[in-house]
Amino acid sequence: MAIEKTYAEINAKIKSGSVVVMTAEEVISLVEEKGVSEAARQVDVVTTGTFAPMCSSGAFFNFGHPKPRIRMQKVWLNGVPAYSGIAAVDAYLGVTELPEDDPCNSNYPGEFRYGGGHVIQDLLSGKPVKLEAVSYGTDCYPRKDLETYITLDDINEATLFNPRNAYQNYNCAVNLSDRTIYTYMGVLKPDLGNAHYCSAGQLSPLFNDPNFLTIGIGTRIFLGGGIGYVAWNGTQHFPGIQKDASGASYGPAGGTLSVIGDLKQMKPNWLVGTSFIGYGTNLTVGIGIPIPILNEEVMRCVSVSDRELFAPIIDYSKAYGQRIPGNLGFASYADLKSGKITVNGREVITAPLSSYPRAKMIADILKEWITSGDFYLTEPVRLLPSHKDGITAKALEVKDL
């Protein structure tokens, strides 16, 4: 008999304390031993996790109104500009934003020691952050400038809202040129000197729900050490199935999520300000998504292992920057994690940018939350587009004016 479970049934089990939860790593051997059907019968929820730099992240703030009032036209937090083209004392701080006086790459490769991501981590650590604002002054908002210190407790709202996180899959970056290059994928040594990848592989949320059968708008998740929700699909959400020139399939890629949550209940060890030499700043974000085992198909998807997941190998010295299509082949996450892959017939050493041990910790924490009855699953309000919807990327055409 086919196994069917509803969200309500699983939540009832969480309430009664009888729910069975496993991480996406643990479930692999269970399915190998017992098969998909038996595993789907035994397990109610599978938890996933990822902890990696995610550039498209940031937070909305409402600072509260000073006396006299100001319509903040420009805002800086510890010298890092925040976008304030919204209501009077609202602003959005992006994690890749840099202080106005950062030397950037004028002293190549720049160090990028501090940026928006670091401001967010400082706020979470309870540190006072300098708030500066200027304005033109209006009849209703007379103040023209302001300088003060704020802490996360002092302000009204702080909402983490990340337009694109949790990439389903990511490139494996190499360098075919004869000089060291500094990228958002780390330092890539010349002449295939190393290869960097950035995914938790078998633990990664969207690798475990490749067809978007369960993750959708309103899905409750682990976000930055607290609770968050899937808000929408992420920007550049182009779910697809990777194929090589001969048409052979190399599994899913391209899906992304937009996530939201109350920053005030998040933790500085799960939202970490990050600097990439020669590139810029970022925020390393911890995300964990529970996958309800609604049926055998969902169980089959979560049982995927690193051997069956593949990253396309891309040259970041030229092909990436110049948008030259194609790749140098695919590498399985099992091989990437082993420390060596073969590219163009040569052995290349690998290193991750995404922390597998932290991803595992997140999946374990989420498992613990669910098992102890502190975290219930939500049924998505709407599911997200999958590869079946055939969404493709548009390039930006630079037109002659």
Binding site: F51, A52, P53, P109, E111, R113, T180, G186, V187, K189, G193, N194, H196, V272, G273, T274, S275, F276, I277, N282, T284, K337, S338, G339, I349, T350, A351, P352, L353, S354, S355, Y356, P357, R358
Partner: protein
Amino acid sequence: MSPKKIILRFGKDISTKPVIYHLAKDFDLVFNILKASVDPYKEGVMVMELTGEKYEQGLEFLKQEGVRVQPLAEEVSWNQEICTSCGACTDICPTGALHINRPSMEVEFESDNCIICKACVTVCPVRAMEVKF
């Protein structure tokens, strides 16, 4: 005279062997190589203890030969609290002092293998590697 610890860096074009041979033969210096390695840019790095009356002359000779000499006064330390075990430093570190333990994928730092090249200090995205004096 007590032994002094120094770091020697050799460009690609300098062969280490004759240089070290001359240190011993021409300057009567006793050396003890603590670590030796080749970094990503094919530059040789050697950490050694040197003892002998003609220590200063020996250093002068090394400099003339184009070897960069640095006293071993600094130390690179790993702040385990800050380290996220991302792994980004592990293929940059020339000696394997920073490495991944498999299958846990936890990153570990063995200070004994560190040659203080400082490559990890700017590469680490969360600044977990610190130079101490």
